[in-house]
Symmetry: C2
């Protein structure tokens, strides 16, 4: 008996819900400080108390209040995103130098954006540091599939066994994080080319936006680095239907090999826990949208749909151009 | 300047969220009593205080506690769903006789099910009474569409101008409530035949399950009956792609006429507020799943997706057969 789809969802959407147990939720929040920037009321993320204690916070521009459990980046009222980002970078550089956090040894040299309550860009920070601050991160996940008289088959890559995070696990056909100033569709086109050798023209012609999944992940040991760090995420979802003669191939060292799996084979691998947690969620969403998982064959249909579209308690981005 | 898609979603998903303002949410709950049945800890719905005061609660089997704001249907520990349902029916019959509630003048003579925390069937009650108890109700909504070289067009019915609820508004191609013991797909087949004259064979061959939308509706005057009653809802979603020569026609008096609208025409009618609120939500979900509304062209993409998949704070059904 393998893992149920709801069990897979719960491995990804792990942060408690207020409604399930208000007293527990309120007590649980005491494990965290809230992360704010001056001039903005919104809570941007939750920082584990243990992280707050270890962080070398330069007192010139950080205010740590252990009574209200608030960590504030203090700047003038007219600070720009570039100014805030420089102060964050300076703080992180000191932490790296002192070797404070294991997770920062996976430095990516990619900047991730953080937004305010009106969707305004507030600052950017090194990707590997975002779970220390518990801020929302953004990415794209695409399911490339073939649908013909042999039925529906899905292109599934296995992650390189030497990758820092989730080594050797199965992944979505194309997936990647969105750096600052990147837009979802352009991120998809870039990642599809880099990771799956999918020509830009094929992606542009065949990819269809299909919503997003959102969840509140709590990092396990498989994620690498400190455990229990928070990672609320938004993944924009694409379906890419390709012809049977299109073959996905690793374009960089991140993927070991691609396999074309039937729905049954994919579901069996899911039940065995072979997929990276958020990739399992994306496949479950795909199966729901394609009428493979239904109210009649999935016991936990409603709970699954609500949890993979979680309304995060932090401000989120708008990537609209209009 | 018409209504934005988020404004349309908010007309349907109107109940406040704890996360937006914990103090306001907590204060808001004081407007309601919780509805319970003895032997089950779960809150099954919220009853407006004004409704609690007016309801003729027979003291033999109702306990109304104004301190904890709880209304409990009191039975022996081994009560069956049939026994609970009889007591509810008796209570409602008295309310109808005394003319206590305007909403019960729209008596439908259809029984709606209420489930416990393990998905177990607890009781059923007359459809028109469910908003008095604020319990979750279930339905199916289908979008019938044509997709060919003329583009995507959607079959949109206008509700009869003499209908009690939302007269003259635009609706989804097929929509209907699920009575007790009904399953989503069979409900779809029945409603498609009754309301849209779609032959059973066409529905069975062409309908594809595509998830569900959930939201927490607060009834307005257009819904008929008392305002501010609560109606948390689950709508199972189907896409039905039909050939261009299939013509949907009213099968009963509930629909005035069907129109085949382009995406632009449908979106214009949405912006004019012509659609029944939950039908607008179903179309927005359709547009997201079909890549028409995307992260790049919809400012409120993330908030919309989370709100139309709201995790309800009451137990919900499982309609799975396995």
């Amino acid at each position: 008996m393998g893992k149920s789809n709801l069990e897979l969802v719960k491995e990804c959407d792990r942060f408690p819900y207020y409604q399930d147990d208000p007293a527990f939720y309120t007590a649980h929040l005491e494990n965290y400080h809230v992360f704010k920037v001056s001039g903005c009321d919104a809570v941007l993320g939750y920082i584990l108390n243990g992280v707050v204690e270890k962080f070398p916070w330069p007192a010139e521009f950080w205010a740590v209040d252990t009574t209200t459990r608030t960590v504030t980046l203090v700047t003038g009222a007219d600070a720009t995103p570039a100014q805030r980002s420089r102060l964050i970078a300076q703080t992180l550089a000191a932490a790296v130098e002192q070797g404070t956090f294991e997770i920062l040894r996976g430095w990516r040299d990619e900047l991730y954006p953080i937004y305010g309550p009106g969707g305004e860009f507030l600052l950017e920070m090194e990707r590997s540091a975002t779970p220390l601050f518990g801020v929302v991160s953004y990415g794209i996940h695409a399911t490339c599939y073939v649908q013909d008289d042999q039925g529906l088959r899905i292109w599934v890559p296995r992650r390189s066994r030497t990758k820092q995070t989730y080594p050797g696990m199965l992944d979505n056909s194309v997936a990647g994080g969105m750096s600052s100033h990147e837009r979802p569709f352009e991120c998809l086109v870039r990642e599809a080319s880099e990771e799956a050798s999918l020509p830009e023209a094929v992606t542009r012609a065949s990819a269809r936006a299909a919503g997003c999944v959102t969840y509140f992940y709590v990092r396990s040991s498989k994620a690498g680095g400190e455990t229990d760090l928070l990672q609320p995420e938004v993944e924009y979802i694409y379906d890419v239907r390709v012809a049977a003669d299109v073959v996905l191939q690793p374009g960089d060292s991140e993927v070991e090999q691609f396999h074309l799996l039937s729905v049954d084979e994919t579901q069996a691998a899911l039940a065995r826990g072979e997929f990276k947690p958020n990739c399992a969620v994306v496949l479950i969403d795909f199966f729901i949208r394609h009428g493979i998982l239904t109210a009649e064959n999935e016991l936990d249909f409603l709970e699954i749909l609500a949890r993979i579209h979680r309304r995060l308690e932090f401000p989120t981005a708008s990537h609209a151009t209009n």
